[in-house]
C-alpha cells in the first residue's frame, strides 16, 4: 500500500506523561475522556460523543459513533447523508472535505480517510503543543465502496483495538467473495435461498460491490439495507442490481436468489417468506469457532470493516506517533505489545463506556457485527 503522509504536524517535542487532565495547563492532552465522550477542550468540541454536546465531530455514521442530540455536527460530505439518518432534522450538519483544514477554537481540524465505511474519517487535531489523530474505526483492506485509509503522521495516535489480537487475520477479499459465491451456488443447486446477514451500513454494500457482475442470480435486500443502498447510490458508489425484498420479489427469487439482511432479521418470521434458506453471517467475529457456533448460522464468512491485527500494527507504525492511546476492544494486549515488542509508548485510553475488549455481545449491536 502507498503510505501517503498527510500534513505532518509541528516539530516533535517531548510530551509529558499522560494522566494530566488539568486544564488549563502549559501542555495539556489535546484530547481526553469526559462523561460526554472524547473531548478537545482547546477546540471546544467532542469526537463521537455519547452524550449531547455543542459541537460533535463525527468519524462515521455507525450507531456507536454518531448519536442524536448534539447541537451541531461536523463530518465529511460523503458521510453527511448517512449521519442525517441518525440525528433529528433540526440538527446542524456541517461538512469538511477530506484534507481540508478548519480552525476551531485554538486548534486546526482536518478529516482524512479511514477506509472503514463511506465517509469515515480520522480526525486530525493540530495545535502548537502537538498533533493528535483520533482514528475512529478503520481498516486497511481494500473496499470499493469508500476511500482507502490514508496514514496520517502525528505525535499522538488514538487507535481502536476491536480485533487487537493476532488470532484475528482476514482472508483476502478475492477468497472471501469466491467462498460466498460457492455457498450461493450450492444453495441454488439444493433449491435453497441464500440469506446473508451483514451490518446494513457499510458491510452490506461492500459485499454487494464485491459480488459485482458475478451474481449467480437475482439479489434482494432487506428494507434496512435498501435505504442505505440509496444513500450509497447518491454518493456515486456503483452497486449491482439489488431489489427491495417486496412480496413479489420474494416470490420470484425464492430457492435461487441471494438476500442481504441485517443479522437481527435472522430467526424472525420475515425469513420464512424465502422458503428453505441457508443462513450466512459476515463478520470478523466469524474468525472464531465459538462465536460462529453460538450465533447459529449455517455459515460464517470472515470479513470486517475493522483492521485485523496486522492492519492495526501497520497503521500504528505508519502514524509514526511517539505516543499511542488505545481504546475500544482488546486494549490491554495491544498496549502491552506496542510497549514491549514494537518499542512504541502506548497507554489505554479509558472510554468509560466498556471495560474490556472482545465485547462481542455487550457493546452496541454494531460491535457484534464488526
Amino acid at each position: 500500500m502507498c503510505h501517503q503522509v498527510t500534513g505532518r504536524g509541528g516539530a516533535k517535542r517531548s510530551i509529558r506523561l499522560s494522566g494530566s487532565r488539568v486544564f488549563p495547563h502549559p501542555l495539556p492532552d489535546l484530547v481526553h475522556t469526559t462523561p460526554e465522550g472524547l473531548a478537545c477542550p482547546l477546540g471546544n468540541f467532542h469526537v463521537d460523543p455519547w452524550r449531547p454536546v455543542d459541537l460533535a465531530v463525527i468519524t462515521h455514521a455507525h450507531a456507536d459513533h454518531a448519536r442524536a442530540g448534539s447541537r451541531a455536527y461536523l463530518t465529511t460530505p460523503e458521510g453527511a447523508p448517512l449521519l442525517r439518518r441518525r440525528v433529528q432534522n433540526g440538527a446542524v450538519i456541517e461538512t469538511l472535505a477530506y484534507g481540508e483544514r478548519r480552525r476551531i477554537g485554538a486548534v486546526t481540524v482536518s478529516l482524512h480517510p479511514a477506509g472503514h465505511v463511506l465517509g469515515s474519517a480520522q480526525v486530525r487535531i493540530e495545535h502548537a503543543s502537538g498533533t493528535w489523530v483520533v482514528a475512529g474505526d478503520y481498516k486497511t483492506a481494500p473496499d470499493p465502496t469508500c476511500a482507502g485509509i490514508e496514514p496520517v503522521a502525528c505525535d499522538v495516535f488514538v487507535t481502536e483495538s476491536t480485533f487487537g489480537l493476532p488470532v484475528f487475520g482476514w482472508p483476502r477479499e478475492s477468497e472471501l467473495i469466491a467462498e460466498i459465491l460457492a455457498w450461493w451456488e450450492g444453495n441454488r443447486a439444493a433449491g435453497r435461498t441464500s440469506l446473508l446477514c451483514a451490518y446494513p451500513l457499510g458491510k452490506a454494500q461492500r459485499l454487494l460491490a464485491g459480488i459485482g457482475g458475478r451474481a449467480l442470480g437475482p439479489i434482494a435486500v432487506h428494507g434496512a439495507v435498501h435505504k442505505l443502498n440509496e444513500a450509497y447510490a447518491e454518493a456515486g458508489v456503483a452497486l449491482p442490481e439489488a431489489e427491495y425484498a417486496s412480496p413479489e420479489v420474494t416470490k420470484r427469487i425464492r430457492g435461487e436468489g441471494l438476500v442481504i439482511a441485517p443479522p437481527s432479521a435472522h430467526g424472525t418470521p420475515w425469513v420464512r417468506k424465502f422458503g428453505e434458506v441457508s443462513t450466512g453471517f459476515a463478520s470478523g467475529w466469524m474468525r472464531l469457532r465459538g462465536t460462529r457456533r453460538r450465533r447459529n448460522f449455517d455459515r460464517g464468512f470472515v470479513v470486517s470493516d475493522h483492521a485485523d491485527w496486522d492492519g492495526l500494527l501497520q497503521t500504528i507504525a505508519a502514524a509514526g506517533a511517539e505516543r499511542v492511546l488505545v481504546t475500544h476492544g482488546y486494549v490491554e494486549p495491544l498496549v502491552r505489545y506496542l510497549n514491549e515488542e514494537s518499542g512504541i509508548r502506548a497507554e489505554a485510553l479509558a472510554t468509560g463506556f466498556e471495560g474490556e475488549g472482545g465485547a462481542e455481545a455487550t457493546g452496541p449491536e454494531e460491535e457484534a457485527l464488526a
Binding site: 488470532v167 472464531l288 471495560g355 455487550t362
Partner: protein, 537 residues
Amino acid sequence: MKGFAELYRRLDSTRRTNARLEALRDHFRAVDPADGAWALHYLLGRRGRRVVGSRQMRAWVAKHGGQPEWLVDECYDAVGDLAETVALLAPGRGDEGEAHGLSLAEVIEERVLALRDLDDAAREELVVATWRRFDLLERLLYVKLITGGFRVGVSRGLVARALAELAGTDQATMAHRLAGRWEPEPAAFVRLMAGDAAGDDPLRPYPFFLASPVPESVSDLGAARDFVAEWKWDGIRVQAVRRGEGHLLWSRGEDVIDAAFPEISAAIAELPPGTVLDGELLAWRDGAPLPFHSLQRRLQRKSVGAKLRQDVPVRMIAYDLLEFGGQDWRERPLEQRQARLREVLEALGRPEVAVAEVVDAERWEALAELRAESRARGVEGLMLKRRGSPYRAGRTRGDWWKWKVEPFTVDAVLVYAQRGHGRRASLYTDYTFAVHGDDGELVPVAKAYSGLSDAEIRKVDAFVRRNITERFGPVRAVTPELVFELAFEGIQPSPRHKAGLALRFPRMARWRHDKTVAEADSLASLRELLAREAGAR
C-alpha cells in the same frame, strides 16, 4: 485428513439431526477402512492419548508463530480453545493449507502416535512441519489429536444410526456392536460394517437405557399402578457382563472398571455364563450408601489397596437382567426380567451384588410421600419404570422416568468470572459464587456455568466487562452486585476449599434481580445444612 475435516466441519456447523446424519453417511459411505476405524474411534469419544502437553504446545506456537508467550495466552483466553488458538497462530498460510493428500490414518499413525518415539527436538520439528502444511481446521483437529482433547459433539445413537443404514442393519444391532472392545484397525471397521459378528468382542455390553426426567406433573405419565418404582441411587451406572470364560464390569462411558472394583468383579465371575446385569455401583456401609464423594476415591484407580477397600466398601445394586442363559432378554417384559434377576442373585448369594428393592405404592400421593424421604435415605429420588416395557436403548422417552427430589437452593453473589469454552468462548460464562462469611467477607462456595438463557448470559457478560476489579490470569474479579439462586444436589465437607464445604452439581436456577448482596445467604446457614445432611445419613 481432508475428508475427516469436512465431516467435522459439517457436524460442527449444524444442530439439525438430518443434516448431521447426512454428513455421517456421506463420510462413512466411501471411507477407507483404515480412516473409517479412526474416525469412528474419535466420534465415539474413545480416549486419545496426550502425546504433547499444552504448555509445550503454547511454547512452540509462540516460537514459530513469532509471538511472545504472554500474547499466546491472551489469545487462548479470548478464543477459549487451545487447539483453535494454536491453529490461528501457527506459522504458514492457514487460510489455504496445502493439497497434502495425507489420510487420517497416516496423520494419526505417522504424525500423532509416532511422536511418542521421538525426542523433544524431533517432535517439535514434525509438529511444526505439519502445521505448515495444514489449513486452519486441519490444524485444529491435529492439535486436538496430539493433546488428547479430541471431542465431537455427536451422540453414539446418531453414529450408530448412520452406520446401521450403511451396513444394512438396525440401529440397536449397530449400537451393540460399537459398544464392544475393538481396536481402530481397518479389519475391525470392515467387520463392523459388514455385519459379520465373528470379530465382535464377546464381552461387549448392551447400550444402556437412560431415564428421562418426569414432566412438570408426574400424573401426566398416567396411573401410578402402571409403573414399578425403585429408589434412584446416586452412584455410577454399570453393566456386569458374564459370558463364556470371561466377565467385565462396564461403566456407562463404556470403560472397563474391574480394576477399581475388584470385589464386585470377583462376585460377577461367579454368575452363570451368558448373564448380563444392569445396575448402580455405590459406596456402601452398614446397609446404607455413602455419599458420592466417597465413591470418587475409588474411581479411575488402576489398583485398589486393602486400606481403600476397607475405607470405601462398595456394592452393586442390580435392577435389570439384559441377558440370561446366553439369550438377549431385553424384549421381555420388565416384571419377567426383574423376577428372574431376583432368582439369579439369590443363587449367587454374594452381598456385593444386591437386588434393587421395589418401592411399593399404588398412588402418586403415596409415592410422593416416599420420595420426600429420599434425602434421609441417601437417594436422589425415585425411578419409575413402566410395567410390561422392554429394555430400550439410549434416551428413548416413555418407559423409564427419573423423579428426583427438589434440589437445595442458596442465594449467592457473583464474585469471579471467566470466559467460556467452545460455543461460548469469548463470553464470560463461567462464574464463581460466594456467600457471607463469619466476618462479613464474601467466601466463594461454588462455580457454575449453566442454567442461564443466552440473553441472560449476554447481560451478565456485559456486567462483568464493566465491573472488573482485579485479574488473576484468566479469572476476573467483579464488583459483588449480582445475586443468583443456585440449585444443587448435595453438600459435602471439603478441606480444599476456603469455605470448608463444597456443593454438588451447582447450577444457576435464576437471577435474583430482586435481591441485594446483603440479602444473600451465609456460610453459617450452609454449614447447618451440611450438619443436618450428615446427621440424616
